[in-house]
């Protein structure tokens, strides 16, 4: 935090929106996207759904990486929505060299690209690998763990929309309990995905003792950019897990993407933190705590929890306990830093 931002503290928040106004910020602190000559990894014209969090997250993340690497950037992509909506050839949206191989091998391919670049005397070319939650937490998990374990010089970004969206919204190991997907239908005694399953990839990444792990979110794009920039300043394996709401899969309004991403953070369900070498170094404090219901209710994938007359109070409470546990574990309340 610079003195200047401290001075500007109050002005950052435009009444009613909770967004940090770019226009009010010191120019150096403005989002990459606000600049006339911004870096541009993905051009518009791709085929993502309206309000797609993944498209937004990828653009911000890669633009920040592109800037941090001085334009010397290669992206490797796992199969998934991002891959499909950016490249129905010849309409590629990528303005940077981009390679898609398979669904489950993006981390290994990226390792190979980084090694190849080093051997060709191009160690200045940085490598970002990216995939959805399914590509990352499930099918690509082996390759990702190998990449982490070897501390290969790759920044891996997971765009977590909590299901296999590209194939029509099926459950992944990142799908939260109670969420309805095509393979966890909202029927039976406990509709939707069950409790007691799933994996927390940021924590697993930390267990590999890699130099940098962070979670980020499309409601706070400055924070996202900062984390990408931090990651890009480090060599070795780095992991950023970005929560990206998916209007289609979540059954949410396309203009609710940012709101939902914010509610996920403010409820404690999706903690924002950074970790270095396996230790949490910083967590982003919750600004105005909300009950998990505020996050869940606008999403049709949770509609069965809120049936008129028989709300599933027990399971909503269980989700609340998960949020509370995160708040405790990552120390999400208390004094906030200036943005």
């Amino acid at each position: 935090m610079t003195d200047e931002t401290a001075l500007q503290r109050v002005k950052f928040y435009q009444t009613g929106t909770h967004t940090v106004g770019n226009r009010l910020m010191n120019e150096a602190r403005r989002s990459v996207q606000a600049s006339m000559d911004r870096s541009n990894a993905i051009t518009s014209g791709h085929r993502a759904c309206q309000g797609c969090g993944e498209a937004l997250g990828a653009r911000y993340a890669l633009d920040a990486a592109l800037r941090a690497s001085d334009g010397q950037l290669v992206a490797v992509n796992a199969t998934g929505c991002l891959e499909v909506f950016t490249t129905p050839y010849p309409e590629t949206s990528w303005q940077i060299p981009w390679l898609h191989s398979l669904f489950g091998n993006a981390p290994a391919v990226a390792t190979g690209v980084a090694a190849g670049m080093r051997r060709k005397g191009r160690a200045d070319v940085r490598v970002v690998a990216q995939g959805g939650d399914g590509g990352t937490t499930d099918i690509g998990f082996g390759c990702l763990s190998g990449m982490f374990e070897r501390n290969d010089d790759v920044l891996y970004i997971c765009y977590d929309n909590e299901a296999y969206m590209n194939t029509g919204v099926q459950r992944s190991s990142a799908t939260p309990p109670t969420a309805r997907t095509a393979t966890t239908p909202a029927v039976g005694d406990a509709p939707g995905n069950i409790f007691g399953t799933g994996k927390n990839l940021p924590l697993i990444a930390m267990a590999h003792n890699i130099p940098y792990v962070a979670t980020a979110n499309v409601a706070d794009l400055h924070d996202l950019e900062d984390k990408v920039t931090t990651a890009m300043a480090i060599r070795g394996s780095r992991y950023i897990h970005i929560m990206v709401p998916c209007p289609l899969g979540w059954g949410s309004a396309s203009d609710a993407t940012i709101h939902l991403a914010r509610m996920a953070v403010e409820s404690g369900l999706f903690p924002l933190f950074e970790a270095e070498h396996g230790q949490v170094t910083r967590s982003k404090k919750i600004r105005r705590r909300v009950p998990v219901e505020d996050y869940l209710r606008p999403q049709r994938r949770f509609a069965h929890l809120f049936k008129k007359g028989h709300e599933d109070t027990e399971r909503i409470a269980r989700l609340q306990r998960m949020a509370d546990a995160n708040i405790e574990r990552f120390n999400l309340l208390g004094e906030r830093e200036a943005p």
Binding site: G71, Q72, L73, V74, V76, N77, E83, V84, T87, P88, Y89, T92, W94, Q95, I96, P97, W98, L99, H100, S101, L102, G104, N105, A108, V109, A110, T111, G112, V113, A114, A115, G116, M117, R118, R119, K120, R122, V125, G142, C143, S145, G146, E149, R150
Partner: protein
């Protein structure tokens, strides 16, 4: 330099001479000695500007090679058997992307039942993946084919598999001429990629392609193999100029002049077959043999010419297409479709079963006498098979087949270094 050495070690030295830039490996018998050999050379600083990456699976090994190759580096890996299946998705992907990776296959059976010994089921499982597949007859040829493979792969931007029989070649010590760095450098130019990930000239590689262009992309993969059909003999000829010996090519014919029965096979078994041919020729039999070096692309025209005078073609093959018979024989039948020559399949050497000269002679004689069935399993223990069929008929809960057969043989399973 001529020396007494292990096939795997010689191949490792040949790989090092080819100046690979990224080598990735995951261990599996009988490939291990090759990657260990390359790894040791890299670690000792004997391979300039090369990285050896220990990965967590074969799927990752080939994926790392894919990334490295797309970055413009010369990439190499090796595997066998289960490992080749485990990387299967990436095998097709490397070919689809047109990345000139070279990979050694130390040919080994595929389970279940798990078996570490030699046959060709692994390579055959990937015969239509778009990779060029070259089969070495000897360890000298294995060395030479690797050097040719990089040149061929990079000229065509197409990956090449060099297949060498597990144990029979990989673990055999014999006299091998490992060439000098100068010779290899004179033959193999540096890798000049046709596509490369470069921020100065960014493009997308591996994009989604729909029905509007997919057939054309696939056609070009086929066309590339047809080009290889022309380039393989030409590269073999250049190789001969530089190294002074004939290695590689599409097929090798042996004493086929005037032969009525011709044996066809891939890989090291051709050595045994030639011995049998010599013996039978001595006894006045009109026999000869053809060794297929390039299985993909498949040299149909060359085989048609080589087999033109034959009355019986006997394909000795180390793999089985259950429910069909022989894979190689099916391909040869297609090549000979305009003739009426009978093409017999002899399934031999599965899971490392020795292919003996006497058994080979028997089948070649039977073919000459018109007594060979269309599909024959060399040295099949009919008693064991019938016993098991009968037992399975008697009780529903017959238990696991492989274990029953072993029990019946009165042996305990000998488990190797899996």
């Amino acid at each position: 330099m001529l020396k007494q050495t292990e096939g795997s070690q010689a191949v490792a030295e040949a790989i090092a001479l080819c100046r690979p830039e990224v080598v990735c490996a995951y261990p599996i018998t009988p490939q291990t000695h090759i990657v260990e050999g390359v790894g040791a050379l890299v670690k000792a600083g004997k391979v300039e500007n090369c990285e050896f990456i220990n990965v967590e699976s074969e799927f990752a090994a080939l994926s790392v090679a894919i990334g490295a190759s797309a970055a413009g580096a010369r990439a190499y890996t090796a595997t066998a058997s289960q490992g080749l299946l485990f990387m299967g998705e990436a095998v097709y992907n490397a070919a689809g992307l047109g990345l000139p990776i070279v990979m050694t296959i130390g040919n080994r059976a595929i389970g279940a039942p798990i078996n570490i010994w030699n046959d060709h089921t692994d390579s055959m499982s990937m015969k239509d993946s778009g990779w060029i597949q070259l089969f070495a007859e000897t360890n000298q040829e294995a060395v030479d084919l690797h050097i040719q493979a990089f040149r061929l792969a990079e000229e065509l931007s197409c990956p090449v598999m060099v297949c060498m029989d597990g144990f029979i070649l990989t673990h055999a010590y014999e006299r091998i001429d490992v060439p000098s760095q100068e010779e290899v450098d004179a033959f193999l130019p540096p890798y000049d990629p046709i596509q490369v990930l470069d921020p100065a000239e960014p493009y997308s590689i591996g994009a989604m392609v729909g029905p509007e262009a997919f057939t054309e992309v696939r056609y070009l993969a086929h066309e590339k193999q047809l080009q290889a059909l022309r380039r393989i003999p030409e590269i073999g000829a250049v190789f001969k100029d530089v190294f002074g010996r004939q290695s590689g090519g599409l097929i090798h014919s042996y004493r086929t002049e005037g032969a009525e029965t011709i044996a066809v096979a891939l890989g090291s078994v051709n050595g045994t077959i030639k011995e049998v041919i010599d013996g039978m020729r001595e006894d006045g039999a009109a026999v000869g043999s053809v060794s297929i070096c390039s299985f993909r692309p498949f040299p149909s025209a060359e085989l048609r010419a080589a087999l033109a005078g034959a009355k019986h073609v006997v394909v000795i093959e180390k793999s089985l297409a259950p429910g069909l018979g022989g894979i190689v024989a099916s391909n040869i039948r297609l090549a000979l479709r305009e003739t009426t020559v009978p093409v017999y399949t002899v399934i031999a050497g599965l899971g490392g079963r020795p292919i003996t000269m006497s058994s080979l002679r028997e089948v070649l004689e039977a073919a000459g006498n018109g007594r060979l069935p269309e599909v024959q399993f060399l040295d099949l223990d009919h008693g064991a098979v019938e016993h098991e069929i009968l037992r399975a008929k008697q009780t529903r809960r017959a238990g696991p087949t492989a274990e029953n057969i072993l029990r019946n043989l009165g042996q305990s399973a000998v488990v190797g270094n899996e």
